[in-house]
């Protein structure tokens, strides 16, 4: 015990005695007693203030620790490699612009308010801007409704207020003319992409070349380079004092689990030996084994959480293969039945047979848009305006017969929306069949899934019926982060059709390395505890190698309530 604590304890005892023996009868004695209490209070208040000041100073010094800047740089390089180079093979430029995520969100407009919808629409507009395409009201020409609303929204966005009264008033006015307004905008965004698709593809091609040049890697070396960067990132993050401290401050880890005696007890239990019996080299080897086991368990627990995504992909693969073999009706082309009945389409029917399902849907989209364009021309009342597709911009009352044309056009827009959904499904199934084979690894299947936001969202909803949108977003974000920023060793090696349980594969490997683990550790009831214990050992070792001592973290966690931090 330090002399200061001893001195304090002794003084407290003295002051307790003083308080006990001081006379407290009569007005005068009470006044004197009160005065003595004030003096005693002042003494301890002063000592407390000195201690608090010192605690504050130490807290702020520890908490001022900064993240290693290298982490940001490596993350940025991984992002560039992943989004601009590696995604090229599995993702369309539509997905790389994240328009799949944004249009999925806009499509669920009935669950949201106008503020969110405007943000999502403007996010799409900004994505086009990022790839060099500046949209104006004139680009929203699918209908007079989309044009009127988007012209105002874009004008107000220029002024910096996408939720201005003018936007709200215009929405109110246009919505009552057509409650399908948001659907019109959604279809219009899809069509704008179609028009500019080749230019956008070219933009990404150039970007890819730029990244390859700046990182000095060839296309063949990209995967290897990314894996190297991910390993580097994980190594940097695992010993970064700021990140470690934040993991405790944010409640990811509990300081109570990180006591030396807890560490020793878990360690000895899992190796069936006394820690003191390990020499430094043996301890280092065992620490490395625990790191590998911890990584494998993280992979495994994430695999279990997202296994339903693999099941869905494999289900779609089987479905598409049956469709291709003609065993079941091709749902993507079901709408073409009517066309096939038509005699005059007999010729084109022969041609269509040779086309893939997605090409058939693409042709239907093109045809549908030509029809809409034609109907929009008819809606115009003046001959001179007929040449101009945007003629409805000149406001004029529509003649009565035009109302029927408007109705027909509106129905066509909704049909077009359905066609785009069919195209998405069709493309996904084609992508699955093209990229997943009997030799594919679990990671390959996850990777394909990670490129399609709409598929992920639909699959999550299928699994968790009552899930709210915010949680869908969080789950997708977690899944994508796992797929893109993890250094895999199990899922990249285990075949997706492998019958042997992954848990057994992991257990067998680590048992050979001297860890006392069994199949029971992997049982559903025990897995969380087992993963937590392994995590504590590995994280404890990381803290010891980091630039923040465990006692600093303990001090921060023990003093933050007192200091009201």
């Amino acid at each position: 015990m330090s002399s200061l604590i001893k001195e304090l304890e002794e003084q407290i005892e003295i002051d307790k005695e003083v308080i006990d023996v001081l006379p407290k009868k009569g007005v005068k004695q009470i006044r004197e007693f009160k005065k003595s209490l004030e003096e005693i209070m002042k003494r301890y208040e002063t000592i407390n203030n000195y201690a608090i000041a010192e605690m504050n100073s130490r807290y702020d010094k520890i908490n001022s620790i900064k993240t290693n800047e290298e982490i940001g740089r490596v993350s940025e390089n991984i992002y560039e490699l992943d989004n601009l180079v590696l995604s090229e093979k599995g993702q369309t430029s539509f997905e790389r612009m994240q328009l799949d995520r944004l249009t999925y969100k806009i499509n669920g407009y009935y669950k949201k308010n106008l503020v969110i919808i405007n943000q999502d629409i403007m996010a799409c507009v900004n994505k086009f801007k990022e790839v060099g395409i500046k949209l104006t009201g004139k680009d929203f020409n699918i209908s007079e409704y989309a044009n009127e609303y988007m012209t105002v929204l874009l004008e107000e966005a220029e002024k910096g207020d996408i939720n201005s009264d003018r936007v709200k008033d215009t929405f109110e006015k246009v919505y009552w003319k057509s409650s399908d307004l948001i659907d019109h905008i959604l279809v219009n965004i899809r069509y704008i992409y179609d028009i500019h698709e080749s230019a956008i593809d070219k933009y990404y091609k150039n970007k890819t070349e730029e990244v390859l040049k700046s990182l000095k890697v060839t296309e063949k070396q990209v995967q290897e380079k990314k894996e190297e960067l991910v390993r580097q990132l994980n190594a940097l993050k695992s010993v970064d004092g700021r990140l470690i401290l934040d993991s405790f401050l944010n409640g990811v880890h509990s300081i109570g689990d990180y006591r030396p005696d807890t560490y020793t007890s878990i360690y000895e239990n899992l190796i069936s030996k006394k820690l003191e019996d390990l020499n430094p080299d043996e301890k280092k080897t065992m620490d490395d084994n625990f790191k590998k086991l911890n990584n494998n368990l993280l992979e495994y627990t994430n695999y279990l959480e997202f296994k339903f995504i693999i099941d869905e992909i494999l289900h779609l693969k089987t479905l598409r293969e049956k469709e291709n073999a003609g065993k079941v009706e091709n749902t993507d082309n079901a709408n073409n039945k009517k066309d096939k009945k038509s005699k005059k389409d007999k010729k084109s029917k022969k041609v269509e047979k040779k086309l893939t399902s997605s090409e058939v849907v693409k042709n239907s989209i093109k045809k549908s848009f030509v029809d809409i364009k034609k109907l929009n021309s008819e809606i115009s009342t003046e001959k001179t305006q007929k040449r101009c597709f945007f003629s409805f911009l000149k406001k004029k009352a529509l003649p009565k017969n035009n109302k029927a044309v408007v109705l027909e056009r509106n129905n066509k827009v909704l049909e077009l929306k359905e066609l785009y959904f069919k195209l998405d499904n069709c493309n996904l199934k084609d992508k699955i069949v093209e990229n997943i084979s009997d030799t594919s690894k679990i990671y390959d299947v996850f990777k394909i899934a990670s490129y399609d936001y709409g598929f992920l969202a639909r699959t999550i909803i299928k699994k968790y019926k009552d899930i709210v949108e915010e949680d869908i977003d969080k789950m997708i974000e977690r899944f994508i982060k796992f797929i893109r920023l993890y250094s895999f060793s199990v899922l990249t090696n285990v075949n997706v059709y492998e019958k042997k349980e992954i848990a057994i594969v992991i257990k067998d490997k680590h048992k050979l390395l001297g860890l006392e683990i069994s199949k029971d550790n992997f049982l559903e009831a025990n897995l969380d505890d087992f993963a937590k214990q392994t995590k504590i050992i590995d994280y404890y070792n990381d803290i010891e190698k980091s630039n923040i001592p465990l006692e600093d973290i303990q001090f921060i966690m023990n003093s933050r309530t007192i200091l009201k931090k």
């Binding site: 200061l4 001195e7 304890e9 005693i40 003494r43 605690m55 303990q554």
Partner: protein, 45 residues
């Protein structure tokens, strides 16, 4: 006596936390007695 606690920069975390805890707890105890005696004084006057 208080001046001995002016510079606590040399002691370890545990001791610092203990000093703060002990001083603060005893201060609270005395404060409570002080409030009681203050009330008695007010009632008497």
């Amino acid at each position: 006596m208080e001046n001995n606690y002016k510079d606590l920069s040399k002691i370890d975390y545990n001791e610092l936390l203990q000093i703060q805890k002990k001083a603060s707890e005893f201060f609270k105890q005395v404060s409570s007695q002080y409030e009681t005696i203050k009330k008695v004084e007010e009632e008497n006057s």
